[in-house]
Symmetry: C2
Subunit: 339 residues, 2 copies
């Protein structure tokens, strides 16, 4: 770790500016619930309508800004018979939950670069109840992502781009990607910790780096963290403090592997009076806890190991879903043998 801390200002700090104290709130802050979208990675998107409605109602009552309904996956690549509805998030499925969504909660879907038939499956905004398209992309897919951002923007949507797995690519390439993305039509550029590998100092440096590009062209930035090292919430509030505006979280941290930043923790931290924790607590106790009988998510040692090794959590997820899920040394030895 670096211990330079406050005396060692990075060259990027000029982009960080004070916005208030803990007793003020920042109107730029937007909270994005990803419970169904990221949680769908745990159960192949087989959520009952009642569950999705419960999350929706809780988000509305809690004052959450956005709810992500699922992916817009290509039905040419992924068969609808192999997945629940929220892998595809068809307009009629969303409307069955939200009607015309006459609430202050906005809706988003995620569209993976190269795995979305965006020309056909993303309707013009005036025909859709969706408000925001979030384009998820690896670095090598950026040319495709740029086309998708332009398509969604031109159709009338708010847009974000979620640049994935950056902890395993060169800084120079991330810089180049940010330079390109900040010149696109996108509204929000997301810092994504796909592997749950980052800690506070890295978050500070990366937020400063993202802000440098984003502010040069009037973009704002978001954070999507994972809990592999029990740092999803810590990294989210660190990014927030450093100037990040869009904050992803899920109810009870529901999400693939170690899960996400818990929405209830995040709203408890934010001082904006529009947010309310109690509806989330009710949703957890009435709807989410019982999922734990059949679904497996949340921090455990195998996720810690892949996170600290900056690896995709797939091997840890496979291990945790196996029969010997507390034989941690075997898993550790297998990671070391692969090294």
């Amino acid at each position: 770790m670096k211990e330079e801390a406050q005396t060692n200002e990075s060259p990027m700090t000029e982009f960080i500016e004070k916005k208030g104290t803990w007793m003020t709130f920042r109107p730029d802050i937007k909270v994005v619930d990803c419970t169904i979208r990221d949680g769908g990675l745990v159960n192949d998107f087989y959520f009952e309508d009642d569950f999705v409605k419960a999350i929706y109602n809780a988000c509305v009552q809690a004052g959450v800004d956005y709810m992500e309904m699922g992916y817009k996956a290509s039905k040419k690549i992924f068969s609808p018979s192999d997945y629940g509805k929220w892998k595809f998030s068809d307009e009629e499925d969303i409307r069955r939950i939200v009607g015309d969504n006459n609430t202050s909660l906005k809706l988003s879907v995620m569209a993976d670069a190269e795995r979305t038939d965006y020309h056909e499956d993303i309707l013009p905004k005036n025909q859709s109840v969706i408000d925001m398209i979030r384009v998820a992309t690896y670095l090598h897919q950026i040319p495709t992502a740029l086309e998708m951002i332009k398509d969604a923007h031109d159709k009338g949507y708010e847009t974000t781009v979620n640049l994935m797995a950056i902890s395993s690519v060169k800084e120079s390439e991330v810089n180049e990607a940010l330079d390109i993305l900040s010149s696109s039509e996108v509204d929000v550029i997301y810092l994504v910790d796909s592997y749950g590998a980052m800690y506070s100092e890295e978050i500070r440096d990366l937020v400063a780096m993202y802000l440098k590009y984003a502010r040069s062209t009037g973009k704002i930035i978001g954070i999507h963290a994972h809990n592999n090292q029990q740092l999803a919430y810590a990294n989210t509030i660190e990014a927030l403090i450093m100037g990040c505006s869009y904050l992803d979280a899920t109810v009870n941290g529901l999400g693939r592997g170690a899960g996400n930043c818990p929405l209830e923790l995040l709203l408890g931290f934010l001082k904006n009076p529009k947010f309310h924790v109690r509806p989330l607590l009710e949703c957890v106790q009435e709807n989410v806890i019982k999922l734990k009988q059949t679904l497996n998510w949340g921090y455990d040692i195998p996720y810690m190991l892949t996170g600290q090794l900056n690896m995709h959590p797939r091997s840890a997820i496979k291990f945790m879903n196996g029969n010997c899920n507390s034989d941690y040394t075997s898993f550790y030895d297998s990671l070391m043998a692969d090294d």
Copy 2:
């Protein structure tokens, strides 16, 4: 929250100095295992000898610097018939586990101010296998704590002072306490987040404040964090980065309520080659996981609520040990009604 971050240097930053990068290690870092001592608060210190030996062996093999065996509680105040051995940590009990402790692991015990017969129960160092006495004190007990520190120091021990519950007292009083303690014989002054109420910015400010006093008289500082808001590990590494040297943790986070900073996470972060994670993983799977069948610890929503409200976790612990431990809204409503 404050967003000033890197551009807003506190007046204390002169006391923060760069000590390395993440690829170096700092010889000043000492890791203190508190599994039996803090974990004893979960089960009234009724650990079997085999379990204590397993933790001891794991600490030795993992390269941990100190292991805390328990409290040195007064038998006049607490009846030995009401508690397990590690509430009292008698010399013969410790020696039954460690022999003469011919290892590089040092041993500590915690002595609570006003609840320890330190004149009688703490032997001269040359008659004891214990290396370090840790004096835990609330602010109003500091005069007693100072006597205990002097007693332990004069008997030949290393000493720490753990100033508790500072998140609920005035800064001016903490400053005064630090001024007094830094002039005492104590070696290490601990920043203790008794209520699990702190987050990164507070940790940074408090570490700077503690270091200001500590460095003026050649003391060093430590951190003891709790996981009420999933921030025990995050706050521990933040304190470390800011110049904190003694780091408390417990195997699998075992500890009262939401528990502590997990030792395995911490050692995975530290780059000092003397530390080894694998013996801890083995200890967790062989010895700690099975405790979860009868003991209740680790993050849950009631601890989040008391942490965010800066309250002692006792109400949350009582609630979690009751029959309706996922009726979070009732607990939330009871806290709000008390407010």
